[in-house]
């Protein structure tokens, strides 16, 4: 530490070390807080209507015309407990799961990015889904499906926390509305 330059090096190196340890402490504190202290957010979903139509997909190169499902829903959710000191934003989405071969299908129909605690009180009525559901086989065949609310808490420092929302609403894909 004889010269100014050496002291700058030593000092800044130690500040970096302490900063990394501080980040680790904050992420561990967040994990503990999430496990023991956070109240589960409450939510309720109600599906208003679902249409199965026939046409070209909205996005992508696929030019084949096939069945797709558009839905309208009500959503009430209070995600304010998720906003701790370490929460940067919460990504919340509504996903529809239905059976298929060889694996089950899960499609996101609506999503939102919440950046403030005030925006975390969601109250949607008669909202249309952002994305339509297209099946890989091109047909729905009246399968059973479940609509669930899930969220992903993105912290400033630490691990991403995914939570399967417990709020589910079951529905059935109706038959094709109009002929091709």
């Amino acid at each position: 530490m004889f010269s100014t330059f050496q002291r700058i090096q030593q000092y800044c190196g130690f500040v970096t070390t302490v900063a990394v340890l501080l980040a680790a402490a904050i992420s561990i504190a967040s994990l503990i807080e999430d496990h023991y202290f956070i109240n589960t957010p409450s939510a309720s979903i109600n599906m208003q209507s679902i249409d199965v139509r026939f046409g070209k997909p909205q996005i992508g190169y696929n030019y084949k015309r096939q069945e797709y499902a558009l839905m309208k829903f009500d959503l009430e959710a209070d995600l304010r407990p998720l906003f701790t000191w370490n929460t940067k934003q919460v990504f919340v989405y509504l996903a529809a799961t239905y059976p298929g071969k060889p694996y089950a299908n899960k499609v996101v129909v609506w999503d939102a990015i919440i950046q403030d605690k005030e925006e975390a009180l969601i109250s949607l009525h008669d909202a249309t889904a952002d994305y339509a559901i297209y099946d890989v086989t091109g047909k729905f065949n009246g399968r059973n499906a479940t609509l669930s609310l899930e969220w992903n808490v993105q912290p400033y420092v630490g691990l991403l926390l995914w939570n399967k929302g417990a709020e589910r609403e079951k529905f059935v894909f109706p038959p094709l509305k109009s002929t091709r």
Binding site: Y11, L22, A29
Partner: protein, 85 residues
């Protein structure tokens, strides 16, 4: 090099001063980190953690890096020159 240049660019300090600078670095920065963590967890605002930490570490930078006179209180005693035959 003039003595002003020596002081500003090289900033030499004696050995006792170096030990003191090392201790001050360790304790000041660790305590700054601990205080920043507590401030954040108590107020519930992580930006306060960042600002408190940055403020305390900047103050520490000024205290440790610049060659203050209290680092030079024990200058090295050189022996008197001996005459060679």
């Amino acid at each position: 090099m003039s003595s002003i240049q020596t002081v500003l660019l090289e900033g030499p300090i004696d050995f006792v001063g170096q030990q003191l600078a090392d201790s001050i670095t360790f304790y000041l920065v660790s305590i700054a980190g601990a205080i920043a963590f507590l401030v954040g967890i108590i107020t519930g605002d992580i930006s306060l953690t960042a600002y408190t930490g940055a403020l305390l570490c900047s103050a520490g930078f000024v205290i440790v890096v610049l060659p203050w006179p209290f680092y030079n209180r024990h200058p090295l005693k050189w022996l008197a020159p001996t005459t060679q035959n």
